[in-house]
């Protein structure tokens, strides 16, 4: 699992690759916690994300809450989209 973070004014972009599971989810949590109050919108690039577990979903939801809904997931693979659909999260989080 690797996490790349780019800050640009009040928006931030995080690129995830590999497996976001119980072992790696806390790393993403720490990155999101580290975002300052000036960041009001976050995009998570999931192009290279291969797997997401419930612990990973929790971090996504936490980010969604921290951004007051201004969270976008982009370039999400079909497998990962299924997970969001199955858990009903696609109804609340913007997925592209």
């Amino acid at each position: 699992m690797t996490i790349e973070k780019n800050l640009c004014g009040s928006t931030a972009e995080i690129k995830l690759s590999g497996w976001l599971n119980t072992q790696t989810a806390p790393d993403l949590g720490a990155e999101i916690d580290a975002l300052g109050a000036e960041i009001t919108a976050l995009t998570i690039d999931c192009e290279k994300l291969e797997f997401i577990s419930s612990a990973g979903l929790r971090q996504i939801v936490a980010a969604h809450k921290k951004m007051n809904g201004a969270l976008t997931l982009c370039r999400v693979s079909d497998e990962i989209k299924d997970v969001f659909r199955m858990t009903g999260l696609d109804k609340h989080i913007a997925i592209q």
Partner: protein, 532 residues
């Protein structure tokens, strides 16, 4: 082996070195002095013999005539001058004799002694013309067989222990006319050698001893004592590392100082590590105790295996936590009016927090269902409870099913859980409205679906630990393999337990040796024929 300090060993080594060097310098010195003395003595004897030869030449003494003549005035004066020579060269005896090899005898021409007593004896015994027929010794033999070198012999005669020099006296053709003998007492020689040896060796001995002593003292002070201190400290530290070590107090700029500094740093580091390890161990023990308690609570709430049978239905459920405490749970009970309630859920995350959340979820859902709420109502209400109090941001996906065995009607609602499998011919996935996982957003709006199953049909619920099981090639088990595994299962002949076992065995076989990342729970509910 007996313990012995380095200091003692070094001292012993020093003494051995001292003795060895003494012995070797002594031997060398003795040899050197001795050969020098012999050389000197030879030179002296050569000079003396030369003078004798000159005076014999000057006197033009005819040996034969001399022997036949009486000891006249002239003979006595020659003899006196030989005595003076004898004393001058510090000889015991000086003598001149002819040799007759054919007769094997010597004839003395002159024989003088150094002091008066000796002279009186030889004047009486080795007078002019006195014959001695003792066998020729090897030095005389050498002269007789043509050697013209002065011979050195060591002999013990009745006149004492002597070094004897034998020098030839020849005519102009080199024929041996007479032998000039010069005796020196050995005792005199050896005292001289010994004295010179002592004079040469003593200063060396003194210098060596002093040097070694100074070296020893320096070593003791600069090396042995600090090492001793260090060794003591180390054994103290090894015996009880918890004690605060006193400073060693070695501040020299050499290697010993470096060792002392490294040692102090090392003890500090070790103490820090030990403290760290101790606290880690304590924490670990505490965590293990907590985990143990949590596991016992969880096993009480969610047993590893449960069977529930009643008229017209059979239910079997298992759970397999990946770690000591898992987040998967199930619940099954008979509710109002002979209905059967089955709940299967998965709490996000693992470990204690997941277990606590799971316990809460199971309890609240159970309570709502027994209070007569329908599946969707139950889940919507539980979602509101979770959203109100969820500091950790945990959530749970849950599938709730209420079954009436009599009519075969199943009412169910889904909160973001994996789609269940309809056990029939063929088995297929049901695709209910996915809903949303509980605890994430208020107002979940979960809806209810329903379905009627025939006797010999059933439903199988599972958590994502089944479909997301991973093999060593990092492939997921997936829904396709799940359906494939259930192909051979017939709900009309197999039991609920068979259905569950078919799935768990397929997953375990697929995973091979790989570690289970996620928990796994499987529940099957079959509608059986009446009377079964």
């Amino acid at each position: 082996m007996k313990k012995e300090s380095i200091g003692k060993r070094i001292t012993r080594c020093f003494i051995v070195i001292l003795l060895l060097s003494l012995a070797s310098t002594g031997a060398w010195n003795y040899y050197h002095t001795y050969t020098q003395n012999v050389r000197e003595s030879r030179r002296e004897a050569e000079r003396c013999a030369e003078i004798v030869r000159l005076s014999l030449d000057r006197a033009e003494l005819d040996m034969e005539a001399l022997l036949s003549a009486e000891a006249d005035e002239r003979y006595r004066s020659e003899r006196d001058s030989l005595r003076t020579l004898c004393r001058t060269f510090d000889l015991d005896y000086l003598y001149i004799y002819t040799v007759d090899p054919s007769a094997g005898e010597r004839r003395f021409l002159f024989c003088v002694g150094g002091d008066d007593d000796k002279d009186a004896v030889v004047l009486r015994e080795r007078y002019l013309g006195a014959v001695s027929d003792e066998a020729f010794d090897k030095w005389e033999q050498a002269l007789l067989s043509g050697s013209r070198e002065m011979q050195m012999g060591r002999v013990s005669t009745r006149y004492g222990n002597n070094v004897t020099w034998l020098s030839p006296y020849t005519d102009w053709q080199g024929r041996l006319l007479a032998v000039i003998g010069m005796d020196q007492s050995i005792r005199l020689e050896e005292t001289k050698v010994l004295r010179e040896f002592l004079v040469a060796v003593l200063p060396v001995v003194l210098a060596l001893t002093t040097g070694l002593l100074v070296l020893l003292i320096l070593m003791r002070r600069r090396i042995l004592r600090p090492i001793h201190t260090l060794s003591e400290r180390m054994s103290l530290f090894a015996a009880d590392s918890s004690r605060e070590p006193e400073p060693i107090g070695i501040r020299s700029e050499d290697e010993i100082g470096e060792i002392a500094a490294s040692y102090e740093k090392m003890t500090g580091d070790i103490r820090a590590y030990i403290a760290n390890i101790e606290s880690l161990t304590r924490e670990r023990v505490e965590t293990n105790v907590q985990l143990d308690v949590a596991r016992r609570i969880q096993y009480g709430l969610v047993p590893e295996e449960t069977s529930l049978k009643g008229e017209g239905f059979a239910l079997h459920a298992v759970t397999r936590p990946a770690r000591a405490v898992g987040g998967d749970f199930y619940d099954c009970f008979t509710g109002d009016g002979n209905t059967v309630c089955a709940v299967l859920g998965d709490v996000s995350g693992k470990g204690i927090s997941a277990a606590i959340f799971m316990a809460m979820a199971k309890t609240v859902i159970h309570e709502k269902l027994t209070s007569g709420f329908g599946p969707a109502e139950t889940l919507n209400q539980v979602n509101d409870v979770f959203c109100a109090q969820n500091p950790e941001g945990l959530f749970a996906t849950v599938f709730v099913l209420v079954f009436d065995p009599e009519s075969g009607r199943m009412r169910y609602a889904n909160a973001g859980h994996t789609p269940p499998v309809l056990l029939g011919s063929p088995c297929r996935l049901l695709r209910p409205d996915s809903g949303i996982a509980l605890g994430l957003f208020e107002g979940a709006g979960i809806v209810e679906d329903e379905l009627t199953v025939q006797p010999g049909e059933g439903i199988l619920l599972y958590t994502d630990g089944v479909t997301e099981a991973v093999n060593p090639q990092k492939k997921f088990f997936g829904e396709a393999r799940l359906l494939e595994a259930l192909e051979g299962f017939s709900a009309s002949s197999g039991t609920a337990e068979d259905a569950v076992r078919t799935v768990t065995e397929a997953v375990e076989q697929f995973r091979e040796e790989g570690e289970a990342f996620d928990d796994m729970a499987v529940l099957s509910l079959l509608r059986t024929g009446r009377g079964l």
